[in-house]
């Protein structure tokens, strides 16, 4: 397995060894930033992905209204579930599209040619996917609050949504990179993603409904720990195996 090493032509003899040691780390961060920024800039101009995710998310909430008869009584118990199903569905839409764009126009090959560690590409994509997902969530929350007259703006819930989205995009980005390279790409991602991302959804739903129903912190803590543990473990795994997924 040959991996392009980080090389910097500007690293001349004039620089002190200390500066040379610093270089790869900043280069790595800059590469992550560049990949993420490229996605965000492209999205800022076309707004294809965000508008699709957003409209889809609102439609899902609309459908839930009729499917579950969201009256005042049931609302308190199912709000967390409805929210997370919406985020998960809208999330797969975004993940699929964001990776398909790279694959279709050969952008992924271009990215792979860049003289940076490949995990930088992974983290860049994770950040842009995470930002898209968070933007959708930030818009869905007030919409849901207004439509169903429940206050969703609680700091605890925001924390849960952030933790859940991090884990979801960490695994989702890895799996969508695989699914876009398969023949049945569009249908494959949810099938691959949902069974392995289940712990995130269980913990996030439990923690969210805990916050919404004003449960004790001791009851919510195990779920938060689970979320944090999952985020750390799967970010680490994706970091280690991403090379194998993009290798030619």
């Amino acid at each position: 397995m040959s991996k392009p090493q980080i090389t910097d032509p500007g690293l001349s003899t004039a620089e002190t060894p200390a500066a040379a040691d610093q270089r790869p780390a900043t280069n790595y961060l800059r590469a992550i930033g560049a990949v993420a920024w490229k996605d965000l800039a492209a999205e800022l101009r076309s707004r294809e992905l965000l508008s699709a995710m957003l409209v889809f998310a609102l439609l899902v909430i609309l459908i839930f209204n009729f499917a579950l008869e969201l009256d005042v009584k049931t609302r308190t118990s199912v709000t967390a579930g409805v929210l997370w199903v919406t985020f998960a569905f809208a999330g797969t839409l975004g993940l699929n599209r964001s990776m398909a764009i790279e694959k279709d126009r050969g952008c992924l090959d271009g990215l792979l040619l860049a003289p940076v560690d490949r995990s930088a590409i992974y983290f860049g994509k994770v950040i842009s996917n995470l930002v898209f997902m968070l933007i959708v969530e930030i818009i869905v929350l007030p919409a849901y609050s207004v439509l169903y007259n429940t206050n969703l703006f609680q700091p605890g819930l925001m924390g849960v949504i952030l933790l859940g989205s991090v884990g979801y995009t960490a695994v989702g980005t890895l799996l969508s990179t695989m699914s876009v390279q398969a023949r049945t790409r569009d249908v494959l991602l949810p099938i691959l993603l949902f069974p392995v991302v289940l712990p995130i959804l269980i913990a996030a739903v439990k923690a969210s409904s805990g916050f919404l129903q004003g449960a004790e912190m001791t009851a919510i803590m195990p779920w938060l720990n689970l979320l944090i543990g999952y985020d750390v473990i799967f970010t680490a795994i994706a970091f280690m195996v991403f090379d194998y997924v993009v290798e030619e």
Binding site: R183, T184, L198, W223, F234, V245, E247
Partner: protein
């Protein structure tokens, strides 16, 4: 084309005999359980099938990691064999469990940690097979398969833990049972004989099927290579 190894043929026959004996022990030899009656006899094969499913699951995860380290297609064939066998045996375990649960729990299915986790494992296996089906290049197919089994192998225990934070009603016959479990019992010596023999028999059957499936994988690979040669 290599001939079938002699030992494998012997193992095939031994497996069939062991299965027959295990069936006899489970259905005739073991005493009838007092409370649950005849339906309890499902237990022997249920646990044995789940055990084999678990063996396959662990084997798939380990061979996935080994494949990623060595990039040797041999390990990919072994991994796929483990996944397929595990898929079938977990399915058998789920079906047998349902048959037992209908009279005992009064339902075919409940969202208990073990049942749910077994169902999730099946889903992961199906996704794994669909992923493989969609990729033609053997090296890439092997790499993606290995990555996905690794992700699955790590996520399944976490899923189990997270569902376990709810209460469970699945009985724990071996080890200590929780107070909420329904349908637990203590094994008599006759039951223990049938139980451990079923475990042993299924382990041998697992080894036999595993070996046969790996051999099939090699043959399939050979056919693919010959096809390519003919086309050129």
């Amino acid at each position: 084309m290599q001939p079938k190894p002699r030992f494998l043929s012997v193992l095939d026959i031994v497996s069939v005999i062991l299965l027959a004996v295990a069936t006899y022990l489970a259905l005739v030899y073991a005493p009838t359980e007092k409370v649950m009656g005849e339906v309890q006899r499902v237990f022997y094969f249920h646990v044995a099938a789940a055990w084999v499913g678990l063996l396959g699951f662990v084997a798939a995860g380990v061979t996935g990691i080994i494949y990623l380290r060595t990039q040797n297609l041999k390990w990919d064939i072994i991994e796929q064999a483990a996944v397929e066998i595990s898929l079938v045996f977990f399915f058998i375990a789920i079906v047998l469990g349902s048959i037992w649960a209908r009279p005992i729990w009064n339902t075919w299915w409940t969202w208990d940690p073990r049942l749910t986790t077994a169902a999730i494992v099946e889903m992961i296996y199906l996704a794994y097979l669909m992923l493989r089906q969609g990729i033609e290049d053997p090296d890439r197919r092997a790499r993606f398969g290995a990555v996905y089994t690794l992700v699955g192998a790590v996520s399944v225990p976490i899923t189990f833990l997270s569902i376990r934070l709810f209460r469970t009603i699945h009985p724990v016959v071996i080890g200590s049972a929780s107070a909420a479990a329904e349908g637990g019992f203590n094994m008599t010596s006759g039951m223990k004989t049938a139980f451990f023999f079923a475990l042993f028999a299924f382990t041998v059957i697992f080894a036999d099927l595993f070996w046969n499936r790996i051999r099939l994988g090699y043959l399939a690979q050979r056919v693919e290579q010959l096809k390519l040669k003919v086309m050129q």
